[in-house]
């Protein structure tokens, strides 16, 4: 898994704090321990030396009451003594015996060298043993000091250091998180600016004045990039509008001239009439093509202005089909039947009526060209979404079924691509389509906040389903039925008409 930069910075800070606290804690622990131990050792040596001296005095005096002697020496010190005298060992307490003295130490001391050793006894407790040879009386004096209090001190210190280390590490992580947030904040500005630009707000720029001094370079080059992008888009839009004007002018002339010829059509010889028919049909097709291409390039440039009107959906579909039939080109397979689910009666949608009509015309033409004609057009309720402000959360669906062989599931997503002809490409010769029809359907539906998909109809043909958000479920009042009583107080000011 790849970690994000924020997580990595946090981890580095945490790790740094951990290493630092382990290092500091370790050094403190071992230094303290070293000094404490050294102090205890020298104290032990001093005490042992003084005790050994007492023992020597007593032994020199011939006192061999070892138990009493050792008891006297030990009294109140918490230490235990072991005395070797004439190859026999005497102990001051039951808690020690001759084997308590580490073998190495015993050997060294018995050989005549004073020595000190720190070790853990059989019970795991730390002890310090000091051995002093007393050659004058052929004895060796050992004293064992308990270091468990030191052990306790050290474990408290260790725990304290551990807790401090853990806290430091957590603080390091928190600092890292804060720092990474801080560091990434300018990037989130860039992200939101880029998002706004991608969303079409080309005037968005980063504020150079407010930028972090270290990021001025990024800010400047980001703004320069957007400037260039905007210039290119505007140049493209200008080019499109120039092309639009240049192409439309000759088309207008052609169309008007053909119109003149058509007025006099009956007076033309039959061959010329047929030629005129071809001319006028293909002129119409050419006009459609040019307007489709321009529509598409405008959508690409993000310069689509749309005029929304709130209309009754079933009336919209019925009118679009009636009028659309007249706007279709090529062959025809009869007028399709429109079936309206009673549930959607009165539902209103916000659309650009002429765009919607184009959508239905394109779908009907597609059905004629590739699907053997439209069988049914149905209007019904769609799935229910979460309601949002200004939206009822309901969708209305318009499905267009054809009598063709259906569309292979693998091809379904592709049919909305431009110039995609798929398995129907072999039939191009008769087609009058521009290859943009379905792509425009998708485009138009998206600008109207709707969607389109294709599935198969129960009869095996293709079913194109348009879905649109419902503005209101209405109360049965259609706006085209007239004579709606005006006593409603739902009056608002004029809405912006070119929204």
């Amino acid at each position: 898994m790849k970690l994000g930069i924020g997580a990595r910075i946090t981890a580095v800070f945490g790790l740094g704090a951990l290493v630092l606290s382990v290092l500091l804690g370790g050094i403190s622990y071992f230094t303290v321990r070293h000094f404490l131990l050294a102090g205890r050792e020298s104290a032990a040596q001093q005490q042992a030396f003084s005790n050994a001296s007492n023992v020597r005095t007593s032994l020199e005096g011939g006192d061999t009451n070892y138990v009493f002697l050792l008891g006297q020496v030990d009294a109140g010190t918490g230490a235990h003594s072991v005395l070797y005298h004439r190859s026999k060992a005497y102990v001051s307490s039951l808690s020690v015996n001759a084997s308590s003295i580490p073998a190495q130490l015993r050997k060294e001391v018995l050989a005549g060298t004073p020595a000190t050793q720190t070790y853990r006894n059989a019970a795991g407790q730390e002890e310090i043993a000091v051995g002093l040879p007393v050659p004058s009386v052929h004895a060796a004096y050992f004293e064992v000091f308990d270091l468990s209090d030191l052990d306790h001190t050290m474990s408290v210190l260790g725990l304290t250091l551990f807790v401090a280390g853990a806290v430091t590490t957590l603080l390091g992580l928190a600092l890292g998180r804060f720092a990474s947030r801080r560091l990434l904040r300018p990037l989130s500005d860039v992200t939101s600016a880029a998002g706004a630009i991608a969303g079409g707000e080309l005037d968005t720029r980063l504020d150079v004045e407010a930028a972090d001094p270290d990021l001025v370079g990024l800010t400047l080059s980001f703004n320069a990039m957007v400037d260039q992008l905007q210039e290119r888009i505007e140049r493209e839009a200008r080019f499109n509008s120039d092309v639009s004007h240049e192409l439309r002018s000759p088309l207008t002339t052609l169309s008007a001239a053909v119109g003149v010829l058509e007025i006099d059509r009956d007076r033309l010889p039959e061959r010329s009439q047929r030629a005129l028919q071809l001319l006028s049909d293909d002129l119409q097709r050419f006009q459609r093509m040019v307007s489709d291409l321009l529509e598409m390039s405008r959508a690409d440039a993000g310069s689509v202005d749309i005029f929304f009107e709130e209309v009754n959906v079933s009336e919209l579909v019925q009118r679009s089909v009636e009028t659309g039939i007249g706007h279709m080109d090529g062959r025809r397979h009869g007028t399709p039947e429109v079936v309206v689910d009673p549930q959607v009666e009165g539902w209103r949608v916000g659309v650009d009526k002429r765009r919607f009509e184009r959508v239905l015309v394109n779908l009907m033409e597609n059905a004629d060209h590739y699907g053997g004609g439209v069988t049914t057009i149905a209007v019904g309720p769609g799935p229910v979404l979460e309601p949002a402000p200004g939206r009822s959360g309901r969708l209305v669906e318009v499905s267009v079924d054809d009598a063709g062989p259906g569309i292979d599931p693998a091809e379904r997503a592709k049919v909305f691509e431009r110039f995609y002809r798929g398995s129907a490409s072999g039939r191009r010769g008769t087609g009058t389509g521009t290859g943009l029809g379905l792509a425009l359907v998708a485009e138009h539906m998206h600008v109207m906040h709707g969607d389109v998909r294709v599935e198969s109809s129960p009869d095996g043909g293709a079913r194109f389903v348009l879905s649109l958000p419902v503005l209101s479920n209405g109360d049965g009042e259609g706006d085209g039925d007239g004579d709606v009583d005006g006593e409603r107080d739902e009056l608002v000011n004029e809405k912006e008409v070119d929204a």
Partner: protein, 227 residues
């Protein structure tokens, strides 16, 4: 049907073809290659309809519309390259009555002109005189005036629209109904025509056009006139 039409279009070939097509429909055509020339021609001999291209060299189509509108109530059709731009609304606000987009079909243009000419003549069924606010509408005389006798000038389309609203006071008329009755459009007519004309009408009829008292919008439904 006959009538005289002024065509202002800078492209010579389009101008010639429009002349041919419109003469074929029985109109008498005067054409001009620039806005200035068009205004001169109109001043010499007013026509029944003016057809103005928005993209003109020198004085542009909007300016030409405004200049023409200052002196005359002649029906104006603007010719625009695109329907879905601000141009249409701007042209309508400059005083145009209707628009066609290039490339237009000659038959469609002829139909638009017919609708405007029909409307420019007195309608058959007119509502009786109606008084609202301090205004008096006299449909049969084609006059809108204030109660103090001062005449309010409006174009024929504005007047026709007002008459349709006045024919059924307090009833909501949808955009589609108004488009059909005033402009002769079907269901797919451009609702912006109605909206802009209503806005223009309000500036003449309402005391405060931003807070209309007589010509009211019923959201999602249409418009109604409240005397």
């Amino acid at each position: 049907m006959s009538g005289r039409i002024l065509v202002v279009e800078d492209d010579e070939r389009i101008r010639s073809s429009m002349r041919l097509a419109l003469e074929g429909e029985g109109y008498e055509v005067k054409d001009a290659a620039s806005g200035e020339e068009g205004l001169d021609l109109f001043a010499e001999a007013p026509t029944d309809v003016a057809l103005i291209d928005l993209m003109l060299p020198g004085m542009d189509g909007f300016e030409c519309c405004r200049a023409l509108r200052r002196s005359s109530a002649v029906p104006i059709i603007i010719v625009t390259a695109r329907a879905d731009t601000h141009d249409v609304v701007a042209g309508l606000e400059a005083g145009a009555d209707d628009y066609v987009t290039k490339p237009f079909v000659a038959k469609e243009l002829a139909a638009r002109i017919r609708a405007l000419l029909r409307r420019a003549r007195p309608a058959e069924e007119e509502p009786g005189a109606l008084t609202f606010g301090d205004l008096q509408l006299l449909p049969e005389q084609g006059v809108l005036r204030r109660l103090n006798g001062e005449e309010v000038h409006c174009t024929r389309t504005e007047f026709r629209l007002l008459c349709e609203l006045a024919a059924s006071p307090n009833k909501v008329l949808s955009r589609e109904q108004l488009l059909d009755r005033v402009w002769g459009y079907d269901y797919f007519g451009d609702g912006r025509l109605v909206d802009v004309h209503i806005r223009r009408l309000r500036t003449k009829v309402e005391a405060d056009p931003a807070v209309p008292q007589h010509i009211l919008t019923v959201r999602g439904m249409g418009y109604k006139l409240v005397p």
